[in-house]
C-alpha cells in the first residue's frame, strides 16, 4: 500500500522496516542450526571439563571431584602416551608428504595423456577408492597383505621369506601410509589437475622454440606453476598433523602392533570408550583438540599470507 505512494520519506521508512524484518527472518533461519551446534558441539565442550576432574558418571560433572591438572600429569607420566604421540606424528607426517608428492606426480603424468576416453576412464577408476569406507577397504587391504596375498607371493617367488605385514612392527606403519596414499592419490590429484589446465600454453610454446624438451618443460614450467597449490595444500594439511587417520588404523591394527600403530584417537577410544576411564580419555582428547586448533589457525594464516586464500 505504502509502496504506491511516491513520497520519499514514507518510502524510506517502509524500506527500513523491510530490512528489519529481513534481519529478524535471517536470525530465525539461523536458530535451528545454532541450537544443534550448541547441543552437539558446545555442550560437549563444556563436558570436556571432566578432563580436570576425577569423573564419576553417577555423580555427573557437578558432583565429581576437581583434580586440576592431575590427569594431564598422569598422561605425561605414562610411557604409552609418549609412544602414541610419536606414532601419530610419524604416521601423519609421512602421509602429509606422500599425499602431496604422489598426487602431483600422478596429475602431471595423467595430464600428458591426450586421449580423452582413456583419461576419463583412468580418472573414474582412481577416484573410486576415496568414496569407499575403511571398513570395506580394510578387508581389501588385509587380503592384499596377508600371508597368502599377492605381495607375499612375489616375495616367495624371488626367494624371500613371507612377511606378516599387518602383524609386524617393522611394517605396519609403512602399510598404513602406503594404503592411505593408495586410497587418496586419485582424489588428491583433482586440485593439481585443475591447476595444470590453467597453465598458459604459450609458456610451453616459447620454451619449445628455445629448444627445451618435454622433461625440461615439466621441470621449469609445470612444477613452478603448481607450487602455489602445493603450498596451500601443505599448509592446510599441516593443521591435520595430529590426525593420523582413526578409521584406517582402527580397522587394520591389532594388539601385536600397538607399539607402532596406536595413535591418539585409537588410544582415546580404548581408554575412554572401552576401559571407561572417562577423565583420562577426555584429557588426551582435549589436549589433541587444543594443539590441533592452534595448528589449524596458524596453517590457515600461513596459507592466506602465501597464496592469498585459505579455507576460511
Amino acid at each position: 500500500m505504502k509502496q504506491g505512494n511516491n513520497a520519499p520519506a514514507i518510502r524510506r521508512t517502509s524500506q527500513a522496516g523491510h530490512a528489519g524484518k529481513e534481519k529478524r527472518m535471517f536470525h530465525l533461519m539461523m536458530l535451528p542450526g545454532m541450537i544443534m551446534l550448541f547441543l552437539f558441539t558446545f555442550v560437549p565442550l563444556f563436558g570436556s571439563l571432566m578432563a580436570f576432574q576425577n569423573y564419576v558418571p553417577a555423580k555427573g560433572i557437578f558432583g565429581s571431584k576437581w583434580v586440576g591438572l592431575e590427569n594431564f600429569k598422569f598422561i605425561f607420566s605414562l610411557p604409552d602416551s609418549r609412544q602414541v604421540f610419536v606414532n601419530t606424528l610419524v604416521i601423519a607426517f609421512a602421509k602429509l608428504v606422500l599425499n602431496i608428492i604422489v598426487p602431483v606426480f600422478f596429475a602431471i603424468l595423467l595430464n600428458e595423456i591426450t586421449s580423452k576416453i582413456f583419461k576419463r576412464t583412468f580418472q573414474t577408476i582412481v577416484y573410486l577408492p576415496h568414496f569407499l569406507s575403511w571398513v570395506v577397504l580394510a578387508t581389501v587391504v588385509t587380503n592384499m597383505f596377508s600371508l597368502t596375498g599377492p605381495f607375499n607371493a612375489v616375495i616367495s617367488a624371488v626367494g624371500g621369506s613371507p612377511i606378516q605385514f599387518l602383524a609386524d612392527n617393522n611394517w605396519f606403519r609403512k602399510v598404513i601410509v602406503a594404503t592411505d596414499v593408495w586410497k587418496e592419490f586419485g582424489y588428491n590429484s583433482v586440485v593439481y589437475l585443475a591447476a595444470l589446465t590453467s597453465i598458459d600454453l604459450g609458456l610451453y610454446e616459447a620454451a619449445s622454440i628455445d629448444g627445451a624438451n618435454r622433461f625440461e618443460q615439466t621441470l621449469h614450467i609445470t612444477l613452478p606453476s603448481l607450487m602455489p597449490t602445493v603450498i596451500l595444500m601443505t599448509a592446510l594439511n599441516l593443521g591435520n598433523i595430529l590426525n593420523a587417520g582413526f578409521d584406517q588404523v582402527f580397522n587394520l591394527y591389532n594388539p601385536i602392533v600397538y607399539e607402532t600403530a596406536d595413535i591418539i584417537d585409537t588410544y582415546v577410544y580404548r581408554i575412554g570408550m572401552v576401559e571407561r576411564q572417562y577423565s583420562i580419555g577426555t584429557a588426551v582428547g582435549l589436549l589433541k583438540s587444543v594443539i590441533s586448533f592452534i595448528l589449524i589457525m596458524g596453517a590457515n594464516k600461513t596459507a592466506k599470507k602465501l597464496t592469498g586464500s585459505g579455507i576460511f
Binding site: K21, E22, K23, M25, F26, H27, M29, M30, P32, G33, L37, F40, T41, V43, L45, F46, G47, S48, M50, F106, I113, F122, I125, L132, S133, T139, V140, T142, N143, M144, S146, L147, T148, A167, V190, V191, R214, F215, F246, L252, N254, P255, I256, D265, V268, Y269, G272, M273, Y278, G281, T282, G285, L286, K288, S289, I296, K304, S309, I311, F312
Partner: protein
C-alpha cells in the same frame, strides 16, 4: 636427428602410459579380487586360488545372503539413516548458508555467526563428552543418534555459502522490491539456480552417512540396531582382537571369507549406483571448497 627425437618421444610416451596404467590397475584389481572371491567356491578361496576371476563360479553366498535377516535389517537401517540424515543435513545446510551468504550490511550479525560455525568445525570436545551428551539426551539405541549429532554439516554449510555468494545479487534485489520474503526468495530463486551445488553437498552427505560405522559402534548397544557398515566392521573385528600371530593366520584363511566378501560387495552397490553422479559433481565441490570464505 629428427628420427632420434621421435624415438625418445615414443619411449617417454610408453613410460608415461605404463605408469598411469599401473596406478590405475592398483585401484581396480584389489576390488575385482574381492568380487571374484564373492563368486568363488570357499575351498578355492581357502586354498588361495582366486585371482581376478572367480574359481568354481557359484552364487551360493548370494543366495545365502538373501536369507540373512541381520544383514538386511542393517541394510535397512543404513537406508533409513541416509534418507533421514540427508533431509536433516540439507535443511540445516540451506537454512544456515543462505543468511550467512548475505553481506554484513544486510545481516550485521553474520560475522559473529560465522565465527561460531567455524569454531564448531575446528574444535571438538572429543568423542567421550559427545557420547555423554547423546546418552543423556536418551538418543542411544535410536536412529536419532546416527543423524542428530552431525545434523549441521559445517563443511557443507561453508561450501554452500560460497555457492550462494555466486548467485547474482540483482536477482535477489528484484524480488525484494516486489516484496518477497527471504524464505520465498530462497525457495523460488536461490534453490532452483543452485541445483548442481545442492547435488554436490547432498552427495557428500549421502556418502558420509552410508560409510559411517563409528556412530553405530558407540551409540548402539544392541547389534540388531547396527547400520550396515558397523555390522560389517564387527564381522572383521575378531581379527583385531587376536594377539597370536598363528591364530591371525588361521582366521584370515577361514572360509567365511567368501561370505564376508559377498556382504562387502553388496554393501558397496549403492555407492556404485550414485558414483557417476558423485564424479560429475565432486570436482566442482573440491575446487570451490578451496576458495576463501
Amino acid at each position: 636427428m629428427k628420427k632420434k627425437m621421435s624415438f625418445g618421444k615414443i619411449i617417454s610416451k610408453v613410460i608415461i602410459w605404463a605408469v598411469v596404467v599401473i596406478f590405475t590397475l592398483s585401484c581396480l584389481l584389489p576390488l575385482l579380487n574381492m568380487i571374484a572371491i564373492s563368486f568363488s567356491g570357499s575351498d578355492a578361496v581357502a586354498a588361495n586360488e582366486v585371482g581376478l576371476l572367480p574359481k568354481d563360479f557359484n552364487v551360493s553366498t548370494y543366495k545365502k545372503l538373501l536369507q540373512d535377516a541381520q544383514f538386511w535389517r542393517s541394510f535397512l537401517i543404513s537406508v533409513e539413516r541416509v534418507v533421514l540424515g540427508l533431509l536433516i543435513n540439507m535443511f540445516f545446510t540451506v537454512s544456515m548458508a543462505y543468511p550467512l551468504s548475505k553481506s554484513k550490511l544486510r545481516f550485521p550479525a553474520r560475522d559473529v555467526y560465522i565465527k561460531f560455525v567455524i569454531f564448531a568445525m575446528l574444535f571438538s570436545g572429543g568423542v567421550i563428552p559427545l557420547f555423554m551428551v547423546v546418552s543423556n539426551l536418551h538418543l542411544t539405541n535410536t536412529i536419532w543418534s546416527l543423524v542428530l549429532p552431525g545434523a549441521v554439516p559445517v563443511f557443507n554449510v561453508i561450501l554452500m555459502i560460497n555457492f550462494f555468494k555466486g548467485v547474482p545479487e540483482s536477482l535477489d534485489e528484484a524480488a525484494r522490491i516486489d516484496g518477497a520474503s527471504p524464505i520465498e526468495i530462497l525457495i523460488k530463486i536461490y534453490l532452483p539456480v543452485s541445483l548442481p551445488s545442492l547435488a554436490t553437498v547432498a552427495l557428500f552427505s549421502i556418502v558420509n552417512h552410508w560409510n559411517d560405522y563409528f556412530s553405530g559402534l558407540i551409540y548402539m548397544s544392541k547389534s540388531a540396531m547396527y547400520p550396515l557398515q558397523t555390522y560389517i566392521q564387527q564381522l572383521t573385528v575378531d581379527i583385531t582382537q587376536v594377539t597370536d600371530a598363528e591364530q591371525l593366520k588361521q582366521i584370515a584363511s577361514m572360509n567365511n571369507r567368501t561370505f564376508n566378501a559377498t556382504k562387502i560387495v553388496v554393501s558397496t552397490i549403492p555407492l556404485l549406483v550414485i558414483y557417476p553422479f558423485l564424479q560429475k559433481y565432486f570436482v566442482s565441490g573440491m575446487v570451490i571448497g578451496a576458495v576463501k570464505e
